[in-house]
């Protein structure tokens, strides 16, 4: 039998515009204006997912961004798929496809449902206690946990959408366009402030806009109609910008806020093409008015999580705004007057109410009187003790509360229903306020936290400030605005307000039941499946701080960050531990308020790395020639160039051999380059490098090592003296920006008297390194007029020359130990000069090689790579590079630290070479090095930093750092691996051509 759940026409819903969509593969219809949740409810679907831990069936619970249960996956298996979307926020469009996500294999038959039956075995902290032991079992547990817990699936294909970032500067930002926000925005804008009003929903007016009853009036009009006029008016104000579908995700210091403007998610997929999907708004506001309203609290009783149980205010919103009845037999359960507002809305729309259960004893108000007049049975002083129905609520059990509210008395009454609305009062939405650094205070009368101390120029107004009724809002909001904006006359004054609420509330954090607590499932945090019992267990096990209880029970975590349940958790802790709520404090509400997509966060930088990457001028050639790339900082560097299905090892072996036997060519453009000029340039270099620079002749190059002030190696590279007062420094690829920053620091703050100017020229030049025994022949063919004799152009020297009209700087320097020339040309000629080298080099089998071969070749020579063979604990002495540390210079950066008691220790880790007994055994980089494996615990002497199979030496070679390694030459050490021990011998770190004959060969 099909229920008729669409009731009375609503302005918000366009019933002439029918929309079809799919949920869990089945086709349904809704109307324009519906959310996925309202459309599902209109189709009598409550069950949408399974809970995280116990896999209990869960339904739609709210009508907003606080939804903990109705979390769905959109467009599964498409590049646009998105997990963890709240059905209450999805606006439906033609072709929408949504599916339940926390269930396997289906929402109606869920394998994990067995967890519910096993729940006595799954107390709080269960995952910590069980799955962590024994450690070796974790992998097996993990498979099942991942499979059955799954919080949705990430897209696996590239994101087809466009995202933007935008800066907005305004005088006043108003967050939330409910009645308080509308009043605030109008007041600010009318007083000349450049104002921005944002709201997460697609419409303005919050919950007042659908308030249409005789009981809430402003200046003798229904509050909803009054607000609608106000909204129409503010839309005309020029200095007021209004953004709907825009949710503020984070509120940082200095009134810096991040908001996500959602531009296309409500459109049919076909209409999204070439449109920006999300815009991340980076808002700098002089003043911020937070008007984020309040969130209704659930009530905590046994089995309070069944599908069909909603917040009372959500039932009202579905009826008033969407014209949808959530059930045909509705029961409301409340501790305050709000449920009666819902009841009146339902009565107005002809929706049946079976009963209202009110835990207050003696209570009367105009609202209650009106409901009673309509023959709705009200059970005063009662509580629900249990609910029944697995996939949909069917029945509730109620009992009378004792006078003190601690127990239930009398006999049980059973009431049948298909929908239950619960109302535990209201919680001001203070999340953004606390994110900004604001401090809360606790208001005892109605048990709420409200803003107390503001850290920046901001105020909270309306319900989020604890003004929870229409009359207090209309009195207090204009008053606060007057002070905050420092204005003389307020546009809103002397309202005539009718608000029919009775403010009484009977707050019982955990409602009693006829069962013992251990046998109940009273959910506090629905999304994380944390129950009252779990919280009490945590307290019994000794957790006292709310932050600890949060982590142990997972209450307040997840995508909803405890929007619904946090107060109950605190309340139960407070009652159990007899600590005052105000003193307990709340847990930290972390940004984002609602989840953001990666696209929103990275903006234009969607793609593989969510970041920009840098390409050398020769990049295109590498791509064409099948290079594999390696990320070095933001750079894409050619890693190796596989030929004929070679793997990396084979390609690197071939490249390394070719470079030593004939010629290799490397794109070294990524090396940092700093142009240094000024009359004190030489003195400056003297102070920043460990070796001496004053005597370096013009046209010569020198290798330099740069330390931190603590004596540890920081960077290295070759610097060339181009002129009397002109040097070109090269740095490591990854260190370029930091080196420049450090040099500027010393220049500006310690040595301002030096006449030196630094300019980064990394991007201005392409650097091509040609090495190998035939490199000289290749260079001479490219530059026929250049005298390449060792006498005229020796190792570590520099020449200026030209190819045609292209100026070239050639440095004869070597990082491979081979004779080698580095050609630097203006970046835009880089590719053509590279191609020329390749062309000319053909006769010599010139072989392009990448970073991996470069690393192998230098390791054969024992040259270090800063950051690979060093970390921030290696001095030049540890690296056996004493030769580069000047004994004569009075001072340089880090010098004093080289003879601190700690840096002169003999047993520091020192760089050594390592040779395996078996020449074919290649060590793993990072592997630990020990001497004695019989001693327990085994002493770790160091680790392997670089390891390769050398095709030129035909054996495995490695560099490593070993405690006291300098004096261990010839000593035998052990590298213990998972299944074996590898025996090694400590050697000199230089494996090949110790005499440097090849440099001039």
């Amino acid at each position: 039998m099909k229920k008729k759940l669409r009731v009375k026409r609503s302005k918000h819903i366009d019933e002439t515009y029918k929309i079809s969509f799919k949920f869990n593969g089945k086709l349904y219809h809704g109307f324009k204006g519906d959310t996925l949740a309202s459309a599902l409810l209109a189709n009598d679907i409550h069950l949408v997912g399974r809970s995280f831990k116990y896999h209990r069936p869960r339904g739609i619970m709210t009508a907003g961004s606080e939804e903990p249960n109705a979390i769905v996956q959109l467009h599964n298996n498409s590049p646009r798929t998105e997990p963890n979307v709240r059905a209450t926020e999805v606006e439906i469009y033609e072709g929408l496809e949504a599916s339940s996500q926390n269930c396997w294999p289906s929402v109606n038959f869920d394998f994990g449902g067995i967890n519910n039956l096993l729940s006595p075995l799954l107390p709080a902290g269960f995952y910590y206690k069980t799955f962590m032991w024994p450690a070796s079992f974790w992998e097996k547990y993990e498979y099942f946990i991942r499979k059955s817990a799954g919080l949705g699936k990430s897209p696996t294909k590239p994101d087809p959408d466009i995202y933007e970032h935008r800066y907005i500067h305004c005088d006043v930002l108003v967050i939330g366009a409910g009645i308080s926000g509308i009043i605030s925005a109008k007041t600010a804008a009318k007083n000349g402030f450049k104002t921005l009003l944002v709201d997460e929903k697609p419409y303005l007016g919050g919950s007042t806009i659908y308030q249409n009853s005789e009981y809430f009036k402003i200046n003798n009009q229904n509050s909803g109609s009054w607000l609608e006029k106000e909204i129409n008016e503010i839309k005309k104000i020029k200095n007021l910008e209004i953004k709907t579908r825009t949710s503020v995700a984070a509120y940082h210091g200095y009134n810096y806020l991040l908001a996500r403007e959602n531009l296309t998610d409500h459109l049919q997929i076909e209409r999204r093409k070439n449109k920006t999907r999300h815009k991340l708004l980076k808002i700098r506001a002089k003043k911020v008015i937070t008007a984020t309203g309040s969130i209704e609290r659930p009530l905590v009783f046994d089995n309070n999580d069944r599908p069909g149980i909603l917040l009372s205010s959500a039932i009202k919103k579905y009826a008033d705004l969407f014209g949808v009845a959530c059930g045909e037999k509705n029961i409301l359960f409340t501790n305050n007057d709000s449920a009666y507002e819902t009841a009146i809305s339902l009565i107005q729309k002809g929706i049946n109410i079976e009963a209202i259960v009110d835990n207050r004893e003696e209570v009367s108000s105009k609202l209650i009187y009106e409901v009673e007049k309509n023959n709705v049975k009200i059970y005063k002083g009662h509580t629900i003790t249990n609910t029944h129905g697995y996939k949909r609520i069917k029945k509730i059990s109620i009992m009378q509360l004792s006078k003190d509210g601690h127990n239930v008395v009398g006999s049980k009454i059973h009431l049948s229903c298909d929908c239950l609305g619960i109302s535990g009062g209201w919680t001001p939405a203070v999340h953004l306020f606390t994110q900004s650094g604001g401090k809360l205070k606790f208001r005892d009368e109605d048990q709420v936290f409200i803003p107390n101390i503001y850290p920046s120029d901001q105020i909270s107004v309306g319900a989020c400030n604890g003004d929870l009724t229409l009359d207090t809002i209309l009195v207090n909001v204009p008053k606060s605005l007057k002070d905050f904006l420092d204005i003389k006359k307020n546009v809103y004054e002397n309202f005539e307000v009718l608000s029919s609420h009775n403010n009484s509330k009977r707050n019982i954090w955990l409602l009693p039941s006829d069962k013992i607590l251990g046998k109940t499932k009273s959910f506090v945090d629905y999304q994380n499946d944390a129950t009252a019992k779990d919280i009490k267990l945590a307290l019994r096990e000794g957790f006292k701080s709310i932050e600890h209880v949060k982590r142990y029970t997972t209450t307040g975590m997840g995508t909803d960050q405890g929007k619904l349940g946090n107060m109950h958790a605190l309340g139960i802790i407070s009652e159990t531990s007899e600590a005052k709520m105000g003193e307990l404090g709340t847990t930290t509400f972390r940004p984002p308020y609602t989840p953001l997509t990666f696209g929103t966060i990275v903006g234009r930088n969607v793609g593989e790395y969510f970041d920009v990457y840098r390409k050398t001028p020769i990049h295109e050639w590498h791509e064409k020639n099948n290079a594999k790339f390696e990320n070095v900082g933001q750079w894409k560097r050619a890693w190796y160039y596989p030929k004929n299905k070679e793997d990396m090892f084979q390609a690197v072996q071939r490249e390394s051999k070719a470079a030593r036997e004939s010629a290799g060519i490397l794109d070294a453009s990524t090396l940092g380059k700093i142009d240094i000029q000024g009359t004190d340039a030489s003195e400056f270099l003297n102070r920043v490098y460990t070796n001496a620079w004053s005597k370096l002749e013009i046209g010569k190059c020198r290798y330099g090592l740069m330390l931190n002030e603590d004596g540890m190696v920081y960077d290295d590279g070759v610097t060339t003296r181009l002129g009397e007062n002109h040097y070109l420094m090269t740095t490591t690829t990854g260190g370029a920006a930091n080196v420049l920053g450090k040099l500027e620091d010393y220049l500006q703050t310690e040595w301002p008297e030096l006449d030196v100017y630094l300019t980064s020229v990394t991007d201005h030049f392409a650097t091509i390194s040609v090495c190998g025994p035939n490199s000289k022949k290749i260079i001479s063919e490219i530059f026929p007029s250049l005298d390449l004799s060792d006498k005229n152009f020796p190792h570590m020297s520099f020449k200026k020359t030209k190819i045609g009209k292209i100026h070239c700087r050639i440095m004869r320097i070597s990082f491979t130990g081979e004779q080698s020339y580095e050609i630097n040309v203006q970046a835009n000629f880089g590719k053509s000069v590279w191609e020329k080298c390749i062309e000319v080099g053909k006769n010599y089998n010139i072989t392009p090689y990448g970073t991996e071969t470069m690393h192998l070749l230098r390791a054969e020579k024992g040259f270090i790579i800063v950051g690979q063979d060093t970390d921030a604990t290696m001095t030049p002495i540890d690296l056996q590079m004493d030769w580069i540390v000047s004994k004569k210079k009075y001072d340089f950066i880090g010098k004093r630290s080289l003879y601190r008691s700690d840096t002169i220790r003999e047993d520091r880790k020192q760089l050594v070479g390592l040779l395996t007994d078996n020449p074919n055994e290649i060590l793993e980089e990072g592997a630990q090095i020990v001497a004695d494996i019989n001693k327990s615990p085994i002493e770790m002497l160091g680790h392997v930093t670089s390891s390769y199979f050398s095709p030129n030496l035909k054996k495995s070679i490695a560099l490593g750092v070993v405690k006291g390694g300098k004096n261990m030459l010839g000593q035998r050490l052990i590298i213990p691996m998972e299944n074996k021990k590898i025996n090694v011998t400590v050697t000199d770190p230089v494996f090949l051509d110790k005499e440097n004959n090849r440099l001039n060969a």
Binding site: G253, Y254, Y256, T749, R896
Partner: protein, 90 residues
């Protein structure tokens, strides 16, 4: 995220700057004359004040100039900005 008033460029986003730690720590002119303890004092010891602190900042993605600020570390309020070599105005 702070707004920092670079003395050379004006008010800019914090993301354009790099923090450089405590201000007014002068590198000793004659490090070789110092004992290990004295050198360590310069090298490692920082006050890390809870409250008003003098700090070095670099406008690394702007004019690249170093300068000092006076910041209250409890609420991130920047009370003053001044150039290298100048005395703190507060």
């Amino acid at each position: 995220m702070f707004l920092i008033n670079c003395p050379f460029c004006g008010e800019r986003e914090q993301s354009e700057f790099k923090a450089g730690g405590e201000a007014h720590i002068v590198r000793p002119k004659q490090p070789t004359e110092l004992s290990d303890d004295e050198w360590a004092e310069y090298l490692f010891m920082r006050k890390n004040i809870k409250g008003v602190q003098l700090e070095r900042w670099n406008h690394i993605h702007g004019c690249r100039k170093w300068f000092n600020i006076v910041r209250d570390t409890t609420n991130d309020e920047i009370k003053a900005v001044y150039k290298m070599g100048e005395k703190p105005p507060i």
